[in-house]
């Protein structure tokens, strides 16, 4: 690895690592797995570093890799741990725990957890990572219009879910 590339990659890692971890945490919900996924993501990024063609931003490119890493992890996880029953499971096949708290954080978090995977991806990239619509579109390899539609639907679902939880509690 040439010195310049190493330095460049290191700087990039410092700038983005926290957000990649947050994005991974949204999927696996524990920091240990999030760290493993983030590491895997950066290894992939390092291997493909020289192949980046500049058609998108580095950040969008990285989160495209992060998304694929997450998908691979999810598939592997699903193979290793098939869900015992289909009720009350989140998108990753886990039982959704927890009751909503007073400040709605848990309610919103629970609502985000039960979103469809494609809606959840957009929500995570927007609110956990802070990517723009264009960057999300590049990372997910979909048109910007699709990003807007998914985010809009996701927010509607979250709102609906929060209301249900608030009314129920």
């Amino acid at each position: 690895m040439a010195g310049d590339v190493k330095k460049e990659f290191q700087e990039f890692w410092i700038q983005t690592a926290a957000r990649v971890r947050a994005y991974m945490f949204c999927a696996c919900r524990n920091w240990e797995d999030a760290d493993d996924l983030a590491q895997d993501c950066y290894l992939r990024a390092l291997r493909g570093w020289s192949q980046f063609n500049g058609s998108s931003s580095r950040q969008a490119w990285l989160f495209g890799i992060a998304r694929r890493t997450r998908v691979d992890w999810y598939r592997k996880r699903k193979r290793e741990r098939p869900p015992a029953h289909s009720e009350n499971l989140d998108e990753f096949g886990w039982v959704a725990p927890g009751e909503p708290d007073a400040d709605n954080v848990e309610a919103v978090w629970e609502s985000v957890k039960v979103l469809k995977a494609e809606h959840g991806q957009v929500v995570h990239l927007r609110f956990a990572v802070g990517l723009s619509y264009a960057e999300i579109a590049q990372a997910l390899e979909v048109p910007i219009g699709t990003v807007r539609s998914r985010l809009h639907r996701a927010l509607k679902e979250i709102r609906q879910k929060i209301r249900e939880l608030e009314n129920g509690s």
Partner: protein
């Protein structure tokens, strides 16, 4: 504008995706339309709550990585570690093997004891001895060429002597009276 369009614009606004002109137009429209303003406020609130909840949930890493810009150490070592470990194991094994072998060699003698040089009979045959032995025999010239590692002479000798049949006839003739 219908509710869906207002909500989408409010969402874009909350996500910072509207330019200044569009933002101004939306604000103007919402100022004159109470119902639309309520829809927009609803969407903004969901955006804010969602962002706040996700930020709160994903902030507490427990490893302090955010504050500590550490180089991505695992990148290369993880990939090279098995190779390095294997190489180290091979070197250690080779060293141990060499040490054991060397120690045994110094303590043990294999096979019969070697004779000392004085007891070796002088029966080593030199090329000169062999030349003397084979000169004038049936295969003499050719044999000497082989012994002396001179393939050119071997062929010369073969050509000079003629065919095998000629040489045989010559040999029989010379040795008839013996």
């Amino acid at each position: 504008m219908d509710r869906d369009a207002i909500e989408r614009l409010a969402m874009d606004s909350a996500c910072g995706e509207l330019n200044e002109d569009a933002e101004a137009l939306l604000s103007e429209y919402l100022a004159g339309n109470a119902e639309a303003d309520r829809w927009a406020a609803d969407v903004r609130e969901v955006c804010e709550k969602t962002e706040a909840a996700i930020q709160k949930k994903t902030k507490n890493s427990g490893s302090g990585l955010e504050g500590a810009p550490v180089a991505p150490k695992p990148a290369l070592p993880v990939r090279l570690w098995p190779v390095t470990r294997l190489a180290a194991a091979v070197v250690i094994a080779a060293f141990i093997g060499f040490a054991i072998g060397h120690r045994q060699e110094s303590n043990t003698t294999y096979g019969p004891p070697l004779p000392d040089s004085a007891s070796i009979p002088k029966q080593v045959r030199t090329v000169a001895d062999l030349r003397e032995q084979y000169a004038g025999t049936f295969w003499g010239d050719k044999m000497l060429a082989v012994i002396e590692h001179r393939p050119d002479r071997r062929h010369q000798a073969a050509r000079r002597a003629g065919s095998l049949w000629d040489r045989y006839g010559k040999y029989i003739k010379e040795n008839r009276h013996e």
